[in-house]
């Protein structure tokens, strides 16, 4: 099941460069989908692309597109389900469904709903969209591994604004109580939510201290640095008996100059001209 790519054989730097190209493809693919649907969440798609590429293309997740419901698989929960453009592009790139299906994003009766539906699309583990749902589900998945004496791990990607939902902290208390060291929460810390910067809305800092006070082992990394992400994922569990929180410091709209760090691009829709510019800046083309 584990794919060994030429890029991996060439060494870590080449591997990181290869992942970076994959992430940029995911970025442009998501923007193309958003352009097609006239709806989408460009800013978060772009901030989370490197994390998704590392997890799925960097062979971190033990998943098998040929057997999406393989019982022993690692679970990944895309709690920030609104970033479905990046998520669907990643799943298709990894082989869970044909790339050509991305063309149907949000079309009438498409399997690619605005927010993911596990009953429609292989590779989707949880129906997300309303915020604060993914972490409780991930806690349940981690508990199930323990009950079944299985070794699967659970990765959940949450937004930083999303952490304003109280259900996350209910789940965090539960994760520490049950010492779920097979659980890793990845925070896409892009510092922007729908309407404004997080710190001007409801301040999230000191975010690392908050997670630490909930007895998570906290790591902070550059969420666009594939090597740093890979290194952290390779060291799980960081501390036996403790869940891990990886705060991935990211830039909303990363990689596309006109979208970077601008709240308006939370759900901005790119024009055809902007797509062309993004393609040039990202150095990739999307032909699905």
């Amino acid at each position: 099941m584990k794919q060994t790519t030429q890029e991996q054989l060439n060494g870590p730097k080449e591997h990181a460069a290869w992942l970076s190209a994959k992430a940029n493809w995911i970025r442009l693919s998501a923007m193309t989908m958003t352009n097609h649907a006239r709806l989408g969440h460009t800013g978060g798609d772009l901030s989370s692309a490197d994390i998704l590429a590392t997890l799925y293309m960097g062979q971190v997740l033990k998943v098998d597109p040929g057997r999406p419901l393989w019982p022993q698989r690692d679970r990944f929960v895309m709690s920030k389900g609104h970033c479905s453009g990046a998520f669907y592009s990643t799943l298709a790139l990894r082989g869970f469904f044909p790339l050509s299906q991305l063309k149907t994003f949000m079309d009438p009766l498409s399997m690619l709903n605005g927010h993911p539906d596990r009953n429609k699309l292989a590779g989707v583990e949880a129906n997300t969209g309303p915020l604060g749902h993914g972490l409780p589900i991930a806690v349940g998945m981690a508990l199930a591994a323990r009950m079944r004496k299985e070794s699967w791990r659970v990765f959940v990607l949450v937004g930083d604004g999303e952490l304003q939902e109280g259900s996350n902290w209910e789940a965090a208390m539960c994760a520490q109580q049950y010492e779920l060291d097979n659980l890793i929460v990845i925070v896409d810390r892009n510092r922007i939510q729908q309407g404004d910067f997080t710190e001007s809305t409801i301040c999230m800092e000191p975010l690392a201290d908050r997670w630490a006070s909930f007895r998570f082992e906290v790591k902070e990394v550059d969420g666009h640095d594939h090597l740093a992400l890979l290194q952290t994922f390779a060291s799980l569990p960081v501390v036996t008996g403790k869940p891990t929180c990886l705060i991935a410091k990211t830039i909303k709209g990363k990689g596309v100059s006109f979208a970077e760090n601008k709240p308006a691009w939370h759900h901005g829709v790119p024009t055809k001209e902007q797509l062309d510019q993004a393609s040039r800046e990202l150095g990739v083309e999307v032909t699905w």
Binding site: P71, R75, D117, R118, N119, E125, A126, N127, T128, G129, P130, G132, H133, L135, P136, I137, A138, V139, G140, M141, A142, L143, A144, A145, R146, M147, R148, E150, W152, V154, G166, S167, E170, A171, M173, C174, Q177, Y178
Partner: protein, 326 residues
């Protein structure tokens, strides 16, 4: 003498009252013994959900999330994803209302194999008041696509529906009361999803009830019989999917239908029956339950009587239908 004593015992047994939570807790333990997927999630509800013995016997399949219902439902989804069959056991008022979006998205929309055991539903908490009553749960659960709803009437049916739940695919809401009830089913009773049980035949009027109200509907039928009126009594324990056939048949064969339930009648069993009748066989009916109001202070028994969710209330409503009163 001997014969009279036996009759006396049988009479005493008939009147013996049971807390359905005992039957549900015992069933869960039996199921866990035979199926490694059976697991329990509680929200600090160790006593109220009667899960002390389960916790002792199966600690590795027992999760207490604390007082955190949103997390509780999400955890249920995750456990099911991991191949377990989780039973979420807690007071119905908190489990349904506080976690409603999780019930909608994580269970109903996701079609998750999770069972909600809503404890002490309806007005079982009596004097504790409307914060602890769960009179809205039927309407809330019934409107959710993919949700199956069962309201068992007695300990026999409670145990039977618990056993059935293991075969079921998809989310399910089981409403388990703590109001003492007598047995209305024989010990050989077999539950069938979506099928009303005819507890008493009759062609003058139909009484449709579920849960703790079923025994009261049998009392109403007794009272009506004394007046020469033969009431058909249906135990509609499955509220969703509703047994359309039995409802239409009752509308055809009797002069009207009285529904009675321990919940808001609008949106509950009464609403479900009314919807079937309006579309398939318009008939005269009375809906007994809470009207559009929260309950005043009182014990559960007092409140049931107060709102006419009683033999007297049903008898009166049935007489109106039979006598063609407005």
């Amino acid at each position: 003498m001997v014969s009279a004593a036996i009759q006396g015992n049988q009479e005493a047994e008939k009147q013996q009252l049971f807390d359905c939570r005992d039957a549900y807790a015992k069933a869960l333990e039996d199921m866990a013994a035979n199926d490694a997927r059976v697991s329990v999630v509680i929200n600090d509800s160790l006593s109220s959900a009667k899960m002390k013995d389960f916790k002792t016997k199966y600690p590795e399949r027992f999760v207490n999330v604390g007082i955190a219902e949103q997390n509780m439902v999400g955890v249920g989804n995750g456990l099911a994803n991991g191949g377990m069959i989780p039973y979420l056991c807690g007071a119905s008022c908190f489990l349904t209302a506080r976690a409603m979006e999780q019930v909608k998205v994580d269970l109903a929309y996701s079609k998750a194999n999770v069972r909600i055991c809503g404890m002490s539903s309806g007005m079982a908490y009596g004097q504790l008041g409307p914060t602890h009553h769960s009179i809205e749960d039927m309407a809330w659960m019934r409107v959710l696509p993919n949700m199956t709803i069962i309201v068992p009437a007695d300990p026999v049916e409670t145990a039977e529906t618990m056993r059935y739940s293991l075969e079921h695919t998809g989310p399910m809401f089981l409403r388990i009361s703590r109001i003492p009830v007598r047995k209305v089913h024989g010990d050989d009773y077999k539950f069938e999803l979506g099928k009303a049980v005819v507890l008493r035949e009759g062609n003058d009027v139909t009484l449709i009830a579920n849960g703790v109200v079923v025994s009261r509907s049998l009392d109403a039928a007794d009272a009506l019989a004394k007046l020469g009126i033969q009431a058909r009594v249906l135990n509609m324990s499955t509220v969703k999917p509703i047994d359309r056939e039995s409802i239409v048949k009752a509308a055809r064969e009797t002069r009207g239908i009285v529904t009675a339930e321990e919940a808001l009648a609008a949106g509950g069993l009464g609403g479900a029956v009314a919807e079937v009748l309006a579309l398939e066989y318009p008939a005269r009916m009375r809906m007994i339950g809470l009207p559009d109001t929260f309950a005043p202070t009182g014990t559960a028994e007092f409140l049931l009587d107060h709102f006419g969710i009683s033999a007297e209330g049903m008898t009166k409503a049935a007489l109106e239908l039979v006598r063609n009163e407005a």
